[in-house]
């Protein structure tokens, strides 16, 4: 099941611009659609939609959340194993590792350089095998 868009949509295309996998299509000022073969259930569209027109993969209407309040990953580096599963899964690649020339640790540890690039999907938290990441609202 993927996310879906109902008739409340005004075709503002905010969701389309945010979608990290280009799964949303449709004419401007018309109801948009989600290609369920492309949708990865990140939920970014649901949070940004100004009209509450988007329903999640369980059919529940998504709650609009001010972007500045979206959850962001917080790292507990004492738990981090440097396996970089989080970096690999991030659909917008907002998680980085330092260039090796600038790295200050023995291993390359992930960090979030710019919180406004994060879409708050929580995939990094979900994938972290050792629960070193917690999604926290700003």
């Amino acid at each position: 099941m993927a996310y879906s868009i109902k008739d409340l949509c005004i075709g503002c295309e905010v969701c389309k611009r945010l979608c990290p996998v280009d799964a949303i299509y449709g004419e401007k000022e018309n109801v948009q659609k989600i290609d369920e073969t492309l949708c990865i259930d990140c939920g970014a569209c649901g949070k940004i939609c100004p009209k509450g027109a988007i329903y999640d993969n369980f059919g529940v209407q998504c709650e609009i959340v001010n972007r500045s309040k979206w959850d962001r990953p917080q790292f507990d580096l004492s738990k981090c194993t440097a396996c970089l599963s989080c970096v690999d899964i991030c659909p917008v690649q907002c998680l980085h590792v330092p260039d090796i020339e600038e790295n200050e640790h023995e291993r390359l540890l992930p960090y979030l350089p710019e919180s406004n690039t994060c879409i708050g999907c929580g995939f990094c938290e979900l994938k972290c095998p050792v629960e070193a990441i917690t999604m926290v609202s700003a």
Binding site: P20, V21, D22, A23, L38, I40, D41, T81, A82, C83, L84, S85, D88, I89, P91, V92, Q93, I100, E101, N103, E106, R107, L108, L126, K127, C128, P129, V130, E131
Partner: protein, 652 residues
């Protein structure tokens, strides 16, 4: 809820440019897992008898592991599979880095190719696109250059593609070439880079974003956190040079303590596999001077040039493969033509060092990077150089054959020059580029006795005279000459008896002489290693993770949590037996006589060594092989799986 696997294979016909998605029934995963097991199941049925490994009928498959991306640790390895052009047997090799999850993120457990393309191509996949693209501009580049070009070309906001590719050695169909990813890591064994080259397939560029969903995320994480506690236990340990003296002590003591993988883990986390560079020589684990020398020919005064600290001193940062908490790898800075290289592995250091009597550590870093970029197996290349040197030293090949290169023991410049000739297939390098078996057949003149191989595959840097378990697995495995399957040492570290109560429990302290007697316990140990490694290669796990022990690295439990199965360890081990048997049956189908695959006399103590760590040690290989076959339900004379065994395992 997911099942951990994607449920589909992608088949690409390079001749017709057609793509086919094939749904794989759940039952197949329950019987063969994913990774190498699924590859073996599929290709056993698809590759026709007598298919030319470098022809259109052969397949090459890129398989991810069942546990990759499911929240387990140590499970980021991908496998390349096909019929080996080096041995003519079932062929597989695996590699770490970050390529394994990329396969599943495209929606497949494996991507397989058949046919031959008219011109060089690479496969590109993203969420909306799947096509073969012209590789004219990357053909001829080395593996690192090709990867960097393709990553730059296809990086987009939100996604950097993952690339696996061949270097010049694969393009030139060198039978000792492999497939590379993550700037020079290499799935090196079985010569499968040549299959890719023969198909004119330069690379796979994967940019998918499909989710990988296990059955029970919470249980996966609970298990991973417990496992990670063991990984994090890292007390301070001896210095690099002191490892040689630990080895010396182990050599002179008549008894041996059972090895706990926690100790090896501490070594790996601190230094990587190079931690064994000196210790292994001292205990008789490292082959010296093309397996004719001994530790006496490579004393501490020689081996100290590659003491483990040499490698960490130039290590810029530790390198972790996907989902690995250990980080045995590293990126090292080097001087000269290349600025950086992956930290050389123990195998590389010995095969390009002691095996050729090379005492120049800088040259090992250089040759490591040269071979990684060319996509040539450092183990096989080192053995082939040692073979050529022994031929030269015995006057069988001369300066006229080597284009003036003085190919003597320890002549570093000559080794480097000859490696370049092998990569470029120039002069005698054209013959040597296909490994020791082909080279000895072409050169003739009795050089077969210098060609160290099992069924065409050069063995690794672990001496069966030190641990007869290695000699068994080099000789009985469907992928011969392989060190990453079993040994008595590995059995001790896997600690399978803690999960499967019927398996033998090794004694805590035992006399070293007992390693050389043949009994049921040894056969149980060898067979268990084979089965377990098939599980490991089916789920995409790393052997080093498994060395922590079956209770600390809970592969059986992860497998059940990821899939929703409720299989006992015994049932899972039977899957390993099935995979082992279908690989052996693949060989039989393709005309391989298992009894002809055997390590050369020199490597098993015939004649006996008169000095060094393995003085007086020999291995009764014939009996060990026969009893191993019997344990698997294979014919004790021929090594071929019996009809009864095949029926019991459902192989037809």
């Amino acid at each position: 809820m997911g099942k951990g696997y994607m449920g589909k294979l992608l088949i690409v016909d390079l001749s017709t440019k057609e793509f086919l998605e094939e749904e794989i029934p759940d039952k197949v995963y329950e019987e063969y897992l994913s990774g190498t097991g699924l590859g073996a199941y599929y290709l056993y049925h698809k590759i026709p008898v007598n298919a030319d490994p470098l022809g259109p009928d052969n397949y090459i498959g890129f398989m991810s592991g069942l546990l990759t991306g499911t929240g387990s640790l140590f499970t980021g390895r991908w496998m390349v599979v096909g019929k080996s052009p080096l041995t003519g047997t079932w062929g597989d090799a695996n590699c770490g880095g970050n390529f394994s999850p990329a396969i599943k993120q495209c929606g497949y457990d494996g991507i397989l190719f058949k046919g031959i393309s008219e011109k060089p191509v690479y496969l590109y996949i993203d969420a909306k696109t799947m096509e073969l693209r012209d590789a004219a501009d990357v053909w001829g580049t080395d593996a690192v250059e090709a990867e960097q070009m393709l990553i730059k070309r296809y990086s987009q906001k939100g996604k950097t593609p993952r690339v696996a590719c061949i270097g010049q050695a694969g393009e030139n169909c060198s039978l000792i070439s492999g497939v590379c990813n993550d700037r020079g890591r290499i799935a090196a064994r079985s010569g499968l880079g040549a299959v890719m080259g023969s198909k004119k397939l330069k690379a796979l560029v994967l940019n998918g974003n499909k989710p990988i969903v296990p059955h029970n995320y919470d249980e996966m994480k609970r298990l991973s956190k417990t496992c990670n506690r063991w990984v994090n236990f890292q007390p301070p340990f001896v210095t690099g040079p002191a490892t040689a003296y630990v080895g010396k002590l182990m050599r002179f003591l008549p008894h041996q303590l059972i090895m706990d993988g926690m100790l090896y883990k501490i070594f790996l986390r601190k230094w990587g596999t190079v931690s064994m560079n000196q210790l292994s020589v001292e205990i008789g684990d490292s082959p010296i001077k093309n397996w004719d020398g001994s530790s006496a020919d490579w004393p501490v005064s020689h081996s100290k040039i590659v003491n483990p600290d040499v490698f960490t001193d130039c290590e810029i940062v530790k390198y972790h493969c996907y989902s690995c908490p250990l980080g045995c790898g590293g990126i090292c800075s080097i001087s000269g033509k290349f600025e950086e290289t992956h930290k050389p592995e123990y195998e590389t250091v010995i095969c390009l060092g002691a095996l050729c009597m090379n005492k120049d550590p800088d040259s090992i870093f250089y040759m490591n990077e040269l071979l990684n970029r060319a996509g040539m197996d450092t183990i096989s290349a080192g053995h082939t150089l040692a073979f050529a040197i022994e031929c030269y030293e015995n006057g069988i090949i001369t300066k006229d054959d080597t284009d003036g290169i003085e190919l003597t023991w320890g002549n570093t410049d000559a080794m480097i020059a000859m490696l370049q000739m092998m990569i470029d297939r120039k002069g005698i390098g054209d013959i040597l580029a296909d490994g020791v078996r082909v080279a000895s057949h072409k050169i003739g003149k009795g050089t077969e006795k210098f060609a160290i191989h099992a069924g065409g595959q050069e063995p690794a840097a672990h001496d069966g005279r030190g641990d007869p378990g290695f000699a068994i697995h080099y000789s009985v495995e469907p992928t011969p000459g392989r060190h990453t399957i079993g040994a008595y040492l590995y059995y001790e570290m896997f600690q399978l008896w803690k999960k499967i109560k019927t398996l033998p429990v090794p004694k805590i302290l035992y006399h070293k002489d007992t390693k050389y007697t043949v009994d049921d316990e040894k056969i149980h140990m060898a067979a268990s290693c084979s089965k377990y490694m098939n599980i490991i290669n089916g789920v995409g796990a790393c052997m080093f993770g498994a060395f922590l022990g079956s209770t600390r690295t809970p592969l059986f439990d992860w497998l059940n949590a990821a899939t929703g199965w409720n299989k006992t360890p015994e049932e899972i081990m039977e899957i390993g037996q099935r995979i082992q048997t279908i690989k052996q049956e693949f060989n039989v189908k393709h005309g391989i006589e298992p009894k002809n695959i055997k390590m050369p006399s020199r490597t098993i103590g015939h004649p006996l060594q008169t000095k060094g760590a393995n003085k007086g040690r020999s291995v009764n290989l014939d009996r060990l092989m026969s009893e191993y076959w019997q344990y698997f339900g294979w014919d004790t004379e021929t090594g071929k799986p019996t009809m009864e065994t095949k029926q019991k395992l459902g192989i037809n």
